[in-house]
């Protein structure tokens, strides 16, 4: 018999429940409010009292409401039909909900369990299988969606029977497997998995070794992201975190994008809802929405399900990773998630850590980032989750608990700078503060040598050096004045400006400039480096500024043209002419 209870206390969305039987930490329960069931998660137990965070508004709740415990943790339902869906933080299908407003207690299934899929078996009776092994596949949109042995299956099992190729409903039995003890288990295409537990069942997790193209030059060229890597984008408000993340989600080279809008603005998600079904994926020609799953728990939706939303997104990403797909998980913003933790910790009257965040915040964040990664599956194929989170530091100051904890956990750091944003130098990724640890990975360096060109990482380092020298020169010019410094300082400063304008700055709203393939980035890097290594001669500093502005204008115009088009080539010639004019002296 399952445990029941009654509500004995209410403080905002924290409800105290007197339980009449065993209760597990993180167990899900439903509170009955005059017939409406409100979902809640147990987060603390003291004697027979369970403290539960309610995933809904608690308005109208009273002492004495009955509670039913489910005996399960917060889970997601996994199976074919999730692609292109928009979920809330608890995996309710938002499109299936009636009405303009969200109705309390309305829970909708994640996908249609009666939908018919053409199932093709990949195992035969007698085969030995383990958790997450592929039993067969169905075609979900353009993805070969693998039907897997449930992740909770223990040890090795034997396939007793499997249905032949044909049309089946997701809820129909498609295979029977026997465990080591001989117990038989009928399987359909659906399984459930608790969101806060990592899906294992892969062979191993090697270090990331190849880069993942995002089409954003400030990332790909200067601080590349690795497939299966982790990164974060901190920045004060108004610096373009979300625009940058949207740009990555549009052009990144991934099979599947899971976007978690965690406690952010609803209109930003609406933009995705509107644009993604219309935008083409430049690689496949399919619509972007066909490779996207959205988890949307905006800032005004209940705070407890905001906390759940990042885990829901991660678990769905892990499910698809086990099919051998390249998944990109984006969460905007992880600070809102941390704030949700803080709100609950505060209501439970825990002793606070720094800035009133819970003491175990760094551990929670590190644990979450560790779930990303490149994996070798048992059957020899590979899959990956690349995770990029945004952080919204309070007051734009990175010395705050969420940013500091994330910095320890993530390998790439894309610092957005207020100064760059103020002068409309977008994306406002600061080239000097940002870093990608992957540039130091021997595996990555070797891979770049073969895929881009030998010695590529050295060129990237050269770019960074020029940028740094430019910054130093600019500081000196500001202190000593234009004519108080040698002419070389002006040249150094302007060389950095060329990199800034031609490579770092990118117009996310221009159809051509919005995404730059790596081969085009390579061209631009070589052009710019060639230009920067040229000896120039000038008479005075006014000449320097004017001349480089001319070069920058040509390079910018090039970025707006189709690569190697007529117009592009004309600009190329113009650039060469401008160069020889100064070099000739």
């Amino acid at each position: 018999m399952s445990t029941h209870g009654r509500v004995v206390g209410i403080v905002a969305n924290l409800v105290t429940i007197e339980a009449d039987g065993p209760v597990a930490q993180n167990e899900i329960c439903y509170i009955d409010l005059n017939g409406t069931k409100l979902m809640a998660e147990v987060i603390k137990i003291t004697g027979s009292l369970a403290y539960a965070q309610v995933f809904e508004s608690t308005r109208g709740l009273y002492v004495g409401c009955t509670v039913e415990f489910t005996g399960r943790m917060l889970e997601v339902t996994l199976g074919p039909g999730m692609l292109s869906k928009s979920y809330d933080g608890l995996q309710n299908d938002l499109d299936a909900m009636a009405g303009v407003f969200l109705t309390r207690g309305e829970y909708t299934p994640a996908f249609d369990e009666n939908a018919v899929w053409r199932f093709a078996p990949l195992v035969r009776p007698g085969d030995t299988v383990r958790a997450a092994d592929w039993l067969g596949s169905v075609r979900e949109g353009w993805i070969e969606h693998k039907i897997m042995v449930p992740f909770d299956f223990e040890g090795a099992g034997t396939v007793v029977s499997v249905v032949p190729m044909g049309d089946y409903r997701a809820c129909d039995t498609i295979a029977v497997i026997a465990d080591a003890g001989g117990g038989e288990r009928s399987l359909n295409m659906i399984m459930r998995w608790p969101v806060k537990v990592e899906v294992r069942g892969y062979a191993d997790k090697p270090r990331p070794f190849k880069i993942m193209e995002t089409g954003v030059r400030a990332i790909d060229t200067l601080n590349p992201m690795a497939e299966g890597g982790t990164g974060f984008i901190p920045g004060p408000f108004g610096c373009g975190k979300t625009v940058l993340q949207h740009a990555i989600s549009k052009y990144a080279e991934a099979d599947l994008i899971v976007l978690v809008a965690c406690g952010e603005r609803a209109n930003e998600v609406v933009e995705i809802f509107k644009e993604f079904p219309e935008l083409d994926d430049p690689r496949t020609g399919r619509k972007l929405m066909e490779r996207t799953i959205i988890i949307c728990n905006t800032s005004n939706m209940p705070v407890a399900s905001r906390e759940a939303s990042v885990y829901t997104g991660m678990t769905i990403a892990e499910y698809y990773r086990m099919m051998g797909l390249k998944v990109l998980l984006l969460a905007d913003s992880t600070s809102r998630w941390a704030q949700a933790l803080r709100e609950m910790s505060n209501r439970m009257e825990e002793l606070p850590g720094p800035d009133a965040f819970p003491m175990d915040l760094p551990a929670i964040i590190a644990n979450f980032y560790s779930r990303a990664g490149f994996v070798n599956l048992n059957n020899g194929t590979t899959g990956s989750i690349t995770f990029i989170g945004t952080v919204s530091p309070a007051g734009g100051n990175l010395k705050e608990p969420v940013a500091e904890s994330t910095k320890k956990a993530a390998r790439c750091f894309y610092a957005l700078s207020q100064a760059r944003s103020d002068s409309k130098r977008y994306p406002a990724v600061d080239p000097i503060d940002s870093y990608s640890k992957y540039l130091e990975y021997r595996e990555v360096i070797e891979q770049l040598d073969t895929t881009v060109e030998p010695g590529w990482v050295n060129k990237v380092v050269q770019l960074k050096d020029i940028l740094l020298r430019g910054k130093e020169a600019r500081d000196q010019i500001h202190i000593l004045g234009d004519d108080g410094v040698p002419l070389d300082y002006h040249v150094a400063f302007n060389k950095a400006e060329i990199i800034d304008f031609a490579i770092l700055q990118q117009d996310a709203f221009d159809p051509i400039d919005a995404s730059t393939p790596l081969v085009r980035q390579q061209y631009m890097v070589n052009t710019v480096l060639d230009l920067c290594s040229s000896p120039f001669s000038f008479d005075d500093f006014e000449q320097v500024g004017a001349y480089f502005k001319h070069l920058i204008n040509i390079l910018r115009q090039m970025n707006y043209q189709e690569f190697m088009s007529e117009r592009f080539k004309a600009l190329e010639t113009e650039l060469a002419a401008a160069l020889s004019e100064r070099r000739a002296r």
Partner: protein, 439 residues
């Protein structure tokens, strides 16, 4: 607020703080309204049979044997078309000597809009102020605050924007507004003959601070009624959200919650988001646009209130006094409208986005030149031209007393660029330059 037929009256208060009291009572629901010694109150905490009430007007003079009457419902507002042209207090009772409004009772602070049911905001709200329309275009369904120091003329600018914005309904929520400012709004709207489309919920500095907590929800419940039931374009003005947040911190402090940054409650972000996210473009054509004021202390935007607000709202507008032209301007650097991309170059002329960015970039160069000048360095010819440009740009476009159509803002900007710069220095996409460049 009517009372129930069989209501229990409690007369034994166990505990009284400055803003709350606790009594033993059964069958009470969370967030229900009550009257304590005739003062409106709301249930904020229930532990067993101990019910904690937040008393909006404060607890001064309340005895332990005061009558406590529970109403059984959360706070409500009666909505109907009769709301138009009326002035109310924070509880929705008239303060203009008019009759009480009858209509359908709606709970305030109701549920959120399902994000998939929202429409993408796409209708430009023209204000005639170039600092807004040209650089920081506002779109219907947007939420945007003025970040202003208390001495800046934000109330005047808001009133001006409200009148020019051509909204069907304007709802003014005053939180801790001085009586003078309240009368200023009232007179401005009256003089413009706009009273018929104004609704106001007012908590002035004369009223108790905790009452303010009801004002935004009252405004937005009324706004949802008009935007959904009659597909109206509603503009909600909230002044001042900093004083609202202060009231939140008073209550959380009285309830012994652990404060987070700047003594604000840990839930500040969620509390503010609940209000601002009511801004929406609805499928039926109605919309709610929120323009708010967040007053800063000494321009400090790292304080928890403006900081959290900035992460919630779709941009922010800053006012600044430009000493070169001795006028108040909309600061082009720090101001931002995040939704402008949805309309500029689409609903406005194609050159708008390029032109806007180029002007701001050159204005930034002028700021650099100014620093040089102040530090006693010689200026280059380019520096001098940026300074000339900046002065004229400020006077002819950024000043808040400008009231012109968007196309003429664009023409003015092109004219200024052509007057002071070469094509290279402006560095805009070639095709746009070819069409619009004026020498």
């Amino acid at each position: 607020m009517k009372s129930r037929v069989f209501q229990k009256i409690y007369t034994h208060i166990e505990n009284i703080t400055k803003a709350t009291c606790t009594i033993a009572a059964d069958g009470i629901t969370n967030e229900e309204m009550a009257f304590v010694a005739g003062r409106p109150a709301q249930v904020v905490k229930i532990i067993g049979n101990r019910v904690t009430l937040q008393i909006f007007p404060g607890t001064r003079g309340i005895p332990t044997d005061a009558e406590v009457v529970f109403l059984g419902t959360p706070p409500v507002l009666k909505v109907s078309d009769d709301l138009k042209g009326r002035f109310f207090n924070a509880y929705g009772s008239p303060i203009d000597n008019g009759p009480a409004v009858d209509g359908e009772e709606r709970e305030i602070g109701g549920p959120s809009v399902n994000p998939v049911r929202r429409m993408q905001p796409s209708e430009l709200i023209a204000t005639g102020i170039a600092g807004i329309d040209l650089n920081n275009t506002i779109v219907s369904g947007q939420k945007i605050p003025f970040f202003a120091d208390p001495d800046q003329p934000f109330n005047q600018v808001m009133a001006e924007v409200a009148l020019r914005a051509k909204a069907d309904i304007i709802i003014l929520g005053g939180m801790g507004m001085s009586n003078d400012d309240y009368l200023y709004y009232k007179n401005t709207f009256e003089n413009a003959g706009a009273l018929g489309r104004i609704i106001s919920f007012m908590n002035t500095t004369e009223n108790p601070p905790v009452e303010r907590l009801l004002v935004p929800d009252m405004c937005l419940t009324a706004a949802e009624y008009f935007a959904l039931d009659s597909s109206a374009r509603v503009l909600v003005l909230l002044s001042d959200m900093t004083l609202y947040a202060d009231a939140l911190s008073i209550v959380s402090n009285r309830m012994d919650q652990i404060p987070s940054k700047d003594s604000m409650p840990g839930s500040l972000y969620s509390d503010l988001a609940k209000i601002y996210e009511k801004a929406a473009q609805f499928p039926g054509g109605g919309s709610i646009t929120i323009i708010a004021v967040t007053t800063l202390s000494g321009g400090d935007i790292t304080h928890a209130i403006p900081d959290n607000t900035g992460y919630i709202t779709e941009g922010q507008l800053y006012l600044r006094r430009d000493t070169d032209i001795s006028k108040v301007i909309v600061d082009p650097f720090r101001s931002l409208s995040r939704l402008k991309q949805l309309v500029i170059g689409r609903k406005t002329r194609e050159d708008h986005p390029h032109l806007m960015n180029a002007c701001v970039r050159l204005y930034a160069d002028a700021a650099g030149a100014k620093t040089k000048l102040e530090n006693g360095f010689d200026l280059t010819d380019y520096d001098r031209r940026t300074l000339d440009f900046a002065r004229e740009y400020s006077r002819e476009l950024l000043a808040i007393d400008i009231n012109i159509e968007i196309d003429s803002m664009l023409d003015t900007a092109w004219h200024l660029l052509g007057k002071h710069f070469t094509r290279e220095e402006v560095a805009i996409k070639q095709e746009v330059m070819d069409t619009y460049w004026v020498q």
